[in-house]
């Protein structure tokens, strides 16, 4: 696989994921408008709090959580990483 092909694939991948995200955001808006999520009957009332709850914008929260988590992971790795033979010395 050439570098040009790789780059094209990367662009397609990112474009596809971004497009899917947009579709899902649109779907969320539709679900919220129609109230379909909360109207699935008594059964859904018990297990379902997600979309009709207070928290929304899951993509945003997810991105924030991932950024914070990765930063924390890097700090821990920076502080506590040692060479593999550390305990064998």
């Amino acid at each position: 696989m050439t570098k040009a092909t790789q780059r094209a694939l990367n662009k397609r991948w990112l474009a596809g994921a971004a497009g899917a995200l947009l579709v899902l955001l649109l779907l969320e808006w539709v679900v919220r408008q129609s109230g379909a999520a909360g109207a699935a009957g008594a059964a859904a009332e018990v297990t379902h709090r997600g979309m009709s709850g207070r928290l929304g914008f899951y993509p945003l929260w997810t991105a924030l959580a991932i950024c914070v988590g990765i930063r924390l992971g890097r700090i821990v790795a920076f502080l506590f990483r040692r060479k593999e033979s550390y305990y064998d010395e």
């Binding site: 990367n10 991948w13 990112l14 994921a17 971004a18 899917a20 995200l21 899902l24 955001l25 779907l27 969320e28 679900v31 379909a36 999520a37 909360g38 699935a40 009957g41 008594a42 059964a43 859904a44 009332e45 018990v46 297990t47 379902h48 709090r49 997600g50 979309m51 009709s52 709850g53 207070r54 928290l55 899951y58 993509p59 929260w61 997810t62 991105a63 959580a65 991932i66 950024c67 914070v68 988590g69 990765i70 924390l72 992971g73 890097r74 821990v76 790795a77 506590f80 990483r81 040692r82 060479k83 593999e84 550390y86 305990y87």
Partner: protein, 621 residues
């Protein structure tokens, strides 16, 4: 079969424990075949066991009842027992199929003992039986680690054993305190029940018994502050041994937490700590199997947190998640074991691009990873939704959001990262090659696990009958499928995939290990021991040896001056430095203390003891 089982309601684990003894005398393919047959037997036995089965051995008629005083309940079926039992038996079947090419003849024996212990713990109806199997399970799992061919397995197994023995002692102390306080060893079959449950007070954590028992259980659950045994020992097991280990010890601890501490508020914080700790460490981990161990800790954190809710819905959610977690973690461990078996390498920084040589293993790893990501149409989707719903139903919004965030991170650090770094992309540095292809038995075991995960994902109602509590609101498909959950989960997956791909270069960990709490007993304490304690000990030993020479002589001169001829070596010189340590004069012994004299003294002591004993008894009468 149900009639036969109802006639002899023995715990399913006994098939495995008894079978382990038989396995010692078998060789070759017979050993593997019998092991698989026994695991299937335990699965069927647990499946067909009637819900009201019990086996109580009454000790009331024995003359020493006042000493023992409690009935032993070898078997009872508690609310979550059936689901956990099916999960453990399934794991045993999968592990035995996966380990068919294992050449170590003792590993199947220890694995069967381990699985038998785990299965027997969850069927135990009293604390004595529970503890005996609990410790037996710890010992068998340590032997499983010892039997590994990995170079560091011996030391890791010893550390594992010591930590678990410590946990066992703490748990036993708690059980003794509980029995002393409540005069009961019974375990209530309904963990949510408050009235008539002798263990209900434990969740308040206001007694030493409750605190000690909780610490003992949390050590087995792998709570990071208490211990790091899981990521220390599991990666050192053999390629097949880790499959058994990944699903039993920690899940038995979850079962025990459900039975004893369902509804304890402290578990919210403990679970959140585990979830965050596992993820933060997992992000920087380079070892393939240590990464999966951190994932276990993180997912265990979700379950521990929901145990704190204490409602029937929460018990159902934790039990279902435990089943699904056992299956997909076993699947991931199997893929990691296949990579280790084929390449001999565990470092993520050296692996990559193996999908071409191991396409089926790569597919299994992706399905395992996406199940962890709670992708719709996999079992993880329903299990995680139920878990989060149980937490939210208890109005624990803060913990809910934290665990939602850790779930989002889990998508990246294991769900995508593990299969991508191992099987996709280009080979890193070209260091690792596939030397031997994974055998068919490995593919079969992974295929069964994949089929089960997808089956539960597509037909979630198929496990409804196994749930601990029959909640009518969970008996409909709409409880598992709703548009809101579906959209939320797909959004999270999309964002995680985009971010993962964008930060792909940063996802490759650097070589090395991450220090943890076990640094205290692996590095700090040995250093303090050799640099401070031992030199001080040598100094004290020198002093003590002088005292050791002098004290007996001093005693002899005190008690038997007439039997020893001693000669003074001149006057005491109190100005000398070491004179202060000398308690006796230096003498030349001429006669030893005879055997007859020793016997006489011993008889005198015993006579005094007997007189005191009968005197006390007479006063009591």
């Amino acid at each position: 079969m149900s009639e036969l089982i109802s006639l002899y309601p023995i715990p399913p684990g006994w098939w495995l424990i008894g079978g382990a003894a038989v396995l010692c005398f078998l060789k070759g393919s017979w050993r593997q075949g019998v092991a698989i047959g026994l695991a299937c037997m335990a699965l069927l036995w647990g499946w067909f066991l009637p819900s009201d089965s019990s086996w109580i051995v009454s000790l009331n008629h024995l003359p020493w009842r006042s000493a023992l005083g409690y009935d032993i309940v070898f078997m009872q079926i508690s609310a979550p027992t059936r689901l956990f039992g099916v999960a453990f038996a399934l794991l045993t079947v999968l592990g035995m199929i996966y380990a068919m090419t294992q050449r170590n003849r003792w590993e199947p024996v220890w694995a069967l003992l381990y699985a038998g212990g785990a299965l027997s713990v969850i069927y135990a109806g009293d604390l004595v039986t529970f503890f005996v199997y609990w410790e037996g399970m710890a010992l068998a799992s340590a032997l499983l680690i010892f039997s590994s061919d990995q170079p560091r397995s011996g030391k890791a197994g010893m550390r594992y054993l010591l930590v678990h023995l410590l946990g066992g002692v703490i748990l036993l102390s708690g059980i003794c305190a509980h029995v002393w306080q409540m005069h009961s060893v019974l375990i209530s079959p309904d963990p949510v029940l408050m009235e008539g449950n002798p263990l209900a007070y434990l969740r308040l954590l206001d007694t030493p018994a409750a605190v000690l028992m909780l610490i003992g259980l949390l050590i087995n659950a792998g709570v990071p502050v208490l211990t790091s045994w899981m990521q220390d020992a599991y990666p050192e097991a053999s390629f097949s041994g880790a499959v058994f280990l990944s699903g039993m010890t920690s899940k038995v601890a979850i079962f025990a937490l459900l039975m004893f501490f369902s509804g304890a508020d402290v578990l919210f914080g403990v679970g959140a700590l585990m979830a965050v700790y596992g993820i933060v460490y997992g992000l920087g981990e380079n070892d393939l199997r240590r990464l999966l161990c951190f994932s276990i800790i993180s997912q265990m954190g979700l379950m521990v947190c929901v145990v704190g809710v204490g409602s029937p819905l929460a018990v159902n959610a934790v039990a279902l998640y435990a089943l699904v977690h056992i299956l997909y973690k076993a699947l991931l461990m199997m893929t990691a074991g296949a990579v280790l078996h084929s390449t001999g390498c565990r470092q993520l920084s050296r692996l990559g691009g193996l999908a071409q040589q191991m396409p089926w293993v790569a597919a299994a790893a992706w399905i395992g990873g996406l199940t962890l990501c709670a992708l719709p149409l996999t079992a993880g989707y329903h299990a995680k939704n139920l878990l989060l719903a149980a937490l939210q139903s208890a109005a624990q919004e803060g913990w809910y959001l934290l665990l939602l965030a850790t779930s989002a991170l889990g998508l990246i650090y294991v769900g995508f990262r593990f299969p991508w770094l191992v099987f996709m992309g280009n080979k890193r540095a070209g260091e690792v090659e596939v030397e031997t292809a994974p055998p068919v038995s490995m593919h079969v075991a992974m295929g069964i696990a994949v089929a089960l995960l997808v089956w539960i994902g597509v037909f979630p109602l198929s496990v409804y009958s196994l749930l601990p509590y029959a909640l009518p609101e969970l008996a409909h498909a709409s409880a598992y499928w709703d548009m809101g959950h579906l959209v939320r989960q797909l959004q999270m997956l999309c964002v995680a995939a985009v971010l993962f791909y964008g930060w792909l270069p940063a996802m490759v960990p650097r070589a090395g290990i991450l220090l943890e709490v076990d640094w205290l007993y692996r590095r700090l304490i040995p250093r303090v021991w050799w640099c401070l304690v031992m030199p001080a000990g040598r100094r004290l030993w020198q002093m003590e040896s002088r005292l050791g020479q002098d004290i007996p002589r001093y005693l002899k001169t005190f008690f038997m001056p007439d039997r020893i001829d001693y000669q003074l070596e001149g006057q005491f010189n109190l100005d000398e430095k070491q004179t202060a340590l000398r308690l006796a004069v230096r003498v030349d012994r001429k006669r030893e203390w005879s055997i007859g004299g020793t016997l006489l003294v011993l008889l005198a002591i015993l006579a005094v003891y007997l007189i005191l004993f009968f005197w006390r008894r007479a006063l009591g009468a």
